[in-house]
């Protein structure tokens, strides 16, 4: 046996011996929580769903449909129509007519009242929509109920109020709407992303054609139903499920005046290229690899919560996830120990169980990507730590994971994994932290943890990221602009700044 291997073995043995003498917390089975499933028998789910065009649910001219599943169980939930080229064209025409005949003729305050109606109805149907979101996407009911739904309806509420106040957002300008907007959204926050796109567009007087992600069409279609029940004039909102091809048709449609895309940087670049020179307005909200910086003078226990929330919330399927932890070397050991203990209490399992913290990975494809990058991390020499939680047999699952001993040049430190995997690096000084944090093509978000006020203002000012959280993480509000620097995209959603993308100024 080589001396190298023997040395390593000895070191491991010593480590284990030392650890055995140290006090350890035991998070075992004393007082286990019983299953607490959210009741889903009040949820209305149509087994076959069409496209929502001109205020009606219609069969696709493409004659194609696809199955959408529950990623936690792999069972089929419904058969959903797939929009082909002709369907996309029909939707755009419906949006044009909706704009010309109804929406552009309404007084702004009246438009606002429609959006208020939608907000109210989402509020009333909150529970049902949350369950549907968890069923179709895999996220824990605790999150869809307490985060996705409240934020989605707040987004409609907030933007309803802008409809008749746009002149205040753009003083000294004449403000008018754009027309038909094409919107493409991802699968990580299906309903919330639909809200982020539709609410401001409508408030500013536009009509929309929206394509939900191919694995998560159901809540967008439920939103379509709400639009119908709210008596929204036909064509103002059109929802056309489909995959990449449908999205491409929408992007390339000559009479769509503006494209809004949230998704991977890779596809974002394709769209940017495709729309170049067409005169179409474009906003992109793409990927990220956010640095969560923890200084030695941070309130450490809350910082650990922030780290956990930053990467394991929504299984890490978050563009602004804090997927890199930059921890000051002097407190690295303490923080890593706390992280280890903390992931032991994360509960992974049935998304519809109210006590589940970590749900299912959205698709087999995404699971494969995560596995590949994690294997790469191990191969490149980073030290892997994983929760020892049991994984259900069926469905797509990945345990909360973090790597320590990561360097800037590791793939897991540079590429977006979009899963519950954290890469941990150390730094010695604030300057080093800032340099490492910014040394990446992305720039969506960042976290800064310190008890010192001046340091917060200094470091956040130096972050090349569109959203910086100080002593917190993953906080969203409709009044707060969200969007990236660099390859994380351009344009902002939410707040006064988010209106800009949806108006013409003169």
């Amino acid at each position: 046996m080589s001396t190298e291997v023997k040395d390593r073995e000895t070191r491991e043995l010593a480590k284990r011996h030392i650890e055995a003498e140290r006090p350890r917390l035991e998070f075992g089975s004393a007082w286990e929580y019983a299953p607490a499933p959210e009741s889903k028998d009040h949820v209305r789910l149509e087994k076959k769903q069409g496209l929502f065009i001109a205020g009606e649910f219609v069969a696709p001219k493409s004659k194609k449909s696809f199955e959408t599943i529950n990623p936690a169980t792999e069972e089929v939930l419904a058969e959903v129509a797939e929009a082909g080229l002709e369907d996309v064209d029909a939707a755009v025409r419906a949006a044009e007519e909706g704009y010309r005949k109804y929406w552009s003729k309404l007084k702004p305050a009246e438009r606002g009242k429609y959006v208020y109606r939608i907000a109210r109805m989402i509020q009333e149907k909150s529970r049902e929509l949350a369950i549907l979101e968890s069923l179709n996407g895999g996220k824990p009911i605790k999150e869809s109920r307490d985060v996705d739904l409240p934020l989605a309806l707040a987004h409609f509420f907030y933007h309803a109020g802008w409809a008749d106040k746009l002149e205040y957002a753009f003083p000294r300008h004449r403000v008018s709407s754009i027309g038909v907007c094409g919107q493409i959204i991802p699968w990580n926050f299906p309903l919330l992303m639909a809200a982020w796109k539709i609410a401001p567009a409508l408030a500013c007087g536009n009509t929309v054609v929206l394509k939900p992600a191919e694995t998560t069409p159901l809540t967008a279609l439920a939103l379509a139903k709400i639009c119908q029940e709210a008596d929204l004039p036909p064509g103002v909102v059109n929802i056309i499920p489909g995959a990449g091809e449908t999205g491409a048709h929408l992007v390339n449609h000559p009479r769509v005046k503006k494209i809004a895309f949230t998704g991977s940087t890779e596809v974002g670049k394709l769209i940017q290229r495709a729309t170049a020179g067409t005169g179409k307005r474009l906003t992109l909200e793409l990927g990220g690899k956010a640095a969560n910086i923890v200084f030695e003078d941070a309130p450490l226990d809350q910082a650990v919560e922030g780290i956990i929330n930053g990467i394991y919330f929504n299984q890490g399927h978050v563009c602004c996830a804090g997927s890199r932890l930059l921890v000051q070397e002097s407190v690295a050991e303490t923080v890593l120990a706390k992280l280890k203990d903390r992931i032991a209490t994360l509960r992974l399992g049935d998304p519809l169980d109210k006590n589940t913290d970590v749900g299912a990975i959205n698709s087999r494809m995404q699971l494969e990507k995560i596995r590949e990058l994690v294997a790469c991390g191990v191969e490149e020499g980073a030290e892997i730590h994983q929760s020892s939680c049991a994984l259900p047999e069926r469905g797509f699952w990945f345990p909360p994971t973090f790597f320590s001993g990561v360097a800037q040049s590791h793939r897991i430190a540079r590429e977006e994994i979009f899963g519950p995997v954290l890469a941990v690096m150390t730094f010695r000084t604030p300057e080093e932290a800032v340099e490492k944090a910014n040394n990446i093509p992305y720039g969506l978000s960042a976290g800064v943890w310190t008890d010192k006020g001046s340091k917060i203002f200094k470091i956040t000012a130096q972050m090349k990221a569109g959203v910086v959280w100080a002593n917190t993480f993953n906080k969203f509000d409709p009044s707060s602009p969200f969007g990236g620097y660099k390859e994380s995209g351009f344009g902002r959603e939410g707040g006064v700044h988010g209106l800009r993308a949806y108006v013409e100024l003169s």
Binding site: L25, A30, Y33, D301, E305, T472
Partner: protein, 304 residues
């Protein structure tokens, strides 16, 4: 005689607490859904952790005797319902409680050291604790000098705890921080570390005379202090929230906080107590509801 070594206390090394962060975490643990068997087990566990308390000027022998009956048999006729952990009274009532509880397994806890304000000379505090133990108290709940603490005189606070621990002999010592008067989470964390370093067996939130008392945020801060103290020293210190705990929902939330912060080892009356008076009946009503499926009526549960 105290056999536990006293540790140095360095106020500068106590971690700071972010208010918003700690409250969010405490609240999110309150969203755990405890149902069916887990709820019944939790309720029974909570009952076994109660320090059934009466601390009123008008307490009498009769009152305490009847309270002790309730302590030993919270639900007459149901042997699955355990007795509570202890009865907590003022020193004069200790002999009554001791006699009434003899052989039952329920401990006698006495407040001492000029409870609740604690603003009497140290010799009086020491004598107060010594006599309570002599009269039969198994446990002493002492108060710290909050004025001294807030003025930064940590040495005084520590030495008082040491002295009372000494005077308490074999009785175990709970140190009440009176978190409502400390006000900030930073202070609560600091006081927790100070008390543990000075030899407390338990740290306790409140006297029950000042609100706010055992809020989820405060409890979580103290549990985190206990956790870090344990990981540093290997010593397990107990925790007792008291004041304002009236419902099963609150009690179960407390148990969740303990379970997910400290783990299995602390889910026992040896390391976790709940100071309460009316909580017992709500726990019993919830237990009955879980078993029978019917919502309950107060009249069916004794008010001793």
């Amino acid at each position: 005689m105290s056999t536990v070594p006293v540790l140095p206390f360095d106020p500068a090394s106590v971690p700071h607490v972010d208010q918003v962060g700690i409250e969010e975490r405490a609240a999110s643990l309150g969203k755990r859904s405890i149902k069916k068997e887990a709820k019944k087990t939790g309720i029974r566990l909570a009952i076994s952790m109660i320090d059934l308390t009466t601390l009123e000027g008008k307490d009498s022998e009769g009152k305490v005797r009847q309270l002790c009956q309730k302590a030993m048999r919270p639900l007459p006729g149901d042997p699955t319902v355990p007795h509570v952990a202890a009865v907590c009274v003022y020193p004069n009532l200790v002999p009554v409680a001791r006699e009434a509880l003899a052989g039952s397994g329920v401990k006698v806890a006495s407040v001492a050291t000029g409870f609740p304000a604690g603003l009497v000379p140290l010799p009086v505090k020491i004598e107060d604790a010594r006599r309570a133990v002599a009269m039969g108290a198994d446990e002493i709940d002492m108060v710290i000098d909050r004025g001294a603490f807030l003025a930064g005189d940590y040495g005084k606070v520590s030495s008082e705890i040491l002295a009372v621990k000494d005077a308490s002999g074999d009785a175990h010592l709970k140190v009440i921080l009176e978190t409502g008067e400390l006000e900030t989470y930073d202070n609560v964390r600091k006081a927790s570390h100070l008390a543990m370093a000075a030899g407390a067996d338990f740290i306790k939130t409140s006297t029950g005379k000042v609100a706010p008392a055992a809020t989820p945020g405060v409890v979580l801060v103290m549990l985190e202090a206990i956790r870090d103290f344990y990981l540093d020293t290997g010593r397990r210190i107990g925790m007792k929230p008291a004041g304002g705990i009236k419902t099963s929902k609150q009690a179960l939330h407390l148990l969740v906080l303990v379970k997910e912060t400290l783990g299995d080892a602390w889910l026992t009356p040896d390391l976790f107590r709940i100071g309460a008076s009316t909580l017992t009946n709500d726990l019993l009503m919830q237990l009955a509801k879980e078993s029978s499926g019917r919502y309950q009526n107060e009249d069916y549960f004794t008010k001793d």
